[in-house]
Amino acid sequence: MSASKSRWADDDPETEAIIAQQKREKEEKRRAKAEKQRQLEESRKAQAAAKHNDATPNPSGDKEPPMKRRRLSNEPMDAEVGQDQEKVKKETTLLRFPVRGWETCRHVDNFERLNHIEEGSYGWVSRAKDITTGEIVALKKLKLESSPDGFPVTGLREIQTLLEARHSNVVYLREVVMGNKMDDVFLVMDFFEHDLKTLLDEMREPFLPSEIKTLLQQVMGGLEFLHSQWIMHRDLKTSNLLMNNRGEIKIADFGMARYYGDPPPKLTQLVVTLWYRSPELLLGAEKYGPEIDIWSIGCIFGEMLTKEPLLQGKNEVDQVTKIFALTGPPNSTIWPGFRSLPNAKSLKIPSSSTSASSNPPLLPRSKFPFLTNAGLGLISDLLALNPASRPTARECLSHPYFREDPRPKPKEMFPTFPSKAGMEKRRRHHTPEAPKRGQEAPELDFASAFGCAPGEDSGVAGAGFTLRLG
């Protein structure tokens, strides 16, 4: 498609630089040619001019015998420029949009169901075979009951975003099929052998640093694409990342995904599974942006490093406690304005005397003993309390962490694992479910955020602050 770049095709700066360079070269060539032509024109002024009436653009350029390029015009310069313009015009290739149509849904009987995979909060997934092609796919039945407003908007958004988010690190929605009843709706997606959650549960040893890098890079690539399309995922977690035995990982389950804008619209705070939910959501921010996905990625990164979910809160209050235990409490320097968030009013935080050397401050080294400094820097940025301090997905991709040794492991070199999804029913996960749509946003009382269950939570003591009760 490089020949058909148009004005609005978004190019990376490198391509733009190349294009600019080509343009400059072309311009120079044209000028040189015009000059040469003018000289030729002058030297042959005496010769008969009416021989050739040449207006056709000349693809072979300078090598053409000058005789052919004679013209009737008295103004060789202008004529030459005109001709060149025509030539340039002929070279333009118009951008053609990908040809796309629509087709009526096929019937689900075109698929033979093989085995059940799992039940998520938004539907049942099974492994199935396309009867006509023999391909193995994942068939996800959408839960549609109890919808007084017709087809649930979450299901519509899931389909819409998946249809538009075509990327190598986003699960591929092949088509939507229907059963006999109008509310039997199935998504047909590429089948993947694993999800990251189950894989981490089953593995004896965590992934190697080089493997983590490859996986994280792919997830970041997928997320960068989603955000570039103004899609927020809003439920990133390890069980929503699908993996195959070729080292490829894809973002799945768009049940919570939606389009957003800039400035961010007012949206529900009841998104993202608790353990992966960002502090601004927990503190009740009504306006939030793609930074919430970046926070989730930070949690996923931590989980890949330790094989354990990073922040396993029992409820919202406990989740906030655990977050602050890891990152240190917020203050108005590292997170200006957090006090005005609805749920922050009940939050009692001691004024921390220790001023952090960096903003956002580095996470405690002891938590990730085997991580390089660059890696620790990255995860500390991802898990910055202040959403504005978190890097964008694009910025993350160019982080030094991905360039230092050990380098990301080539996908082909990835180990393979026995697939749970392939043959047998999976055991139930213990990750809490994503919040249900339509629930009331809870008014949370964080007064006890630092006071509950002393002794049980070693994080409180380790976080380096004391409690001011009452």
Binding site: S6, L94, G101, D149, V185
Partner: protein
């Protein structure tokens, strides 16, 4: 890069879908189908305005409505009522937007617009909106009537989704056109206004411009037309190529957009003092009437 263009482009109808609509297979005469489709688009527009929806939602609903009837797998006017498809398309488009609306609001508005006594729409109430408000029962539903209308609204929503394979994405030319105008340095408000008018009129085009051309082409054609009408000179070069539209496509679209007004006049003449059938029964009656006339000749 291709996927990056997705939000700027649309799924288009195939030639096969355009020449073989489900209605034509079922024996609905093509002129009648065109009239009903156009009336349905106007109904959707009017309802959207009464519901206070923004024009992008209304335009998306009209495009979904238009797509629904195309192709052998699409909806047939002998099976689905145009008024129901209009209402469900609007409800669906609003649901997907930042401005969702309730089934009750949609049904109230459609009941009013389809009332033969109260409606201001010429193809529903040829006498025009009455000066005195008519009796409320002529445009207000009973609770029972509401319940059944609601279940129809939600059922047809699913029918539309199935027919379209759940592809509800509609990219519109309006915002694109404004960007192009800025790029061209044509900032005169009268031109911009005229561009938007042309783009909204094109939603009613019998040539179904929104399902046969990409939004960038529609935007360019509207700008070309508006600039000419307003006597604003744009750059000398073939600027439309910068926006990836060739002369041929531009020419076709300009003619198509210009002809919509004449088409609408002809429609008004053809259906003078008559109503355009928007439900299955009246469509059947209209087909039967046409057949009788044909045999009588």
């Amino acid at each position: 890069m291709e996927s990056g263009l997705k939000h700027l482009s649309n799924a288009l109808a195939t030639p096969n879908q355009l020449s073989n609509s489900s209605s034509s297979i079922d024996g609905v005469p093509p002129e009648l189908e065109t009239s009903i489709r156009c009336a349905g688009a106007q109904l959707t527009q009017a309802a959207g305005v009464l519901l206070g929806l923004s024009q992008d939602i209304i335009a998306q609903a009209i495009v979904l409505f238009t797509r629904f009837w195309l192709g052998a797998d699409g909806g047939s006017l002998r099976i689905y009522a145009a008024k129901d498809v209009s209402a469900s398309a609007l409800y669906l488009a609003a649901k997907l937007s930042f401005q969702p609306t309730s089934p009750r609001s949609v049904i109230n508005v459609y009941t009013f617009l389809l009332s033969p006594d109260a409606s201001p729409l010429w193809f529903v109430n040829p006498r025009g909106a009455p000066d005195e408000p008519p009796a409320p029962e002529t445009y207000i539903l009973t609770e029972g009537g509401y319940q059944s209308a609601r279940s129809t609204l939600l059922r047809i929503e699913s029918v539309i989704l199935r027919a379209l394979g759940f592809d509800t994405h509609v990219a519109l030319p309006h915002a694109i056109a404004l960007t192009y105008l800025q790029t061209l340095g044509a900032t005169k408000p009268s031109v911009s206004r005229r561009v938007i008018q042309h783009l909204n009129t094109a939603l009613l085009s019998p040539q179904l411009l929104y399902v046969t051309h990409q939004p960038n082409a529609l935007a360019v054609a509207a700008i070309y037309l508006a600039a000419r009408e307003q006597g604003v000179k744009l750059v000398d070069t073939e600027w439309w190529e910068v926006f990836d539209v060739d002369r041929e496509e531009l020419g076709f679209l300009v003619v198509g957009m210009q002809s919509t007004e004449g088409f609408m006049r002809a429609e008004k003449g053809r259906w003078e003092n008559k109503t355009i059938p928007l439900v299955v029964d009246t469509v059947e009656a209209e087909i039967e009437k046409g057949r009788m006339l044909g045999e009588g000749e």
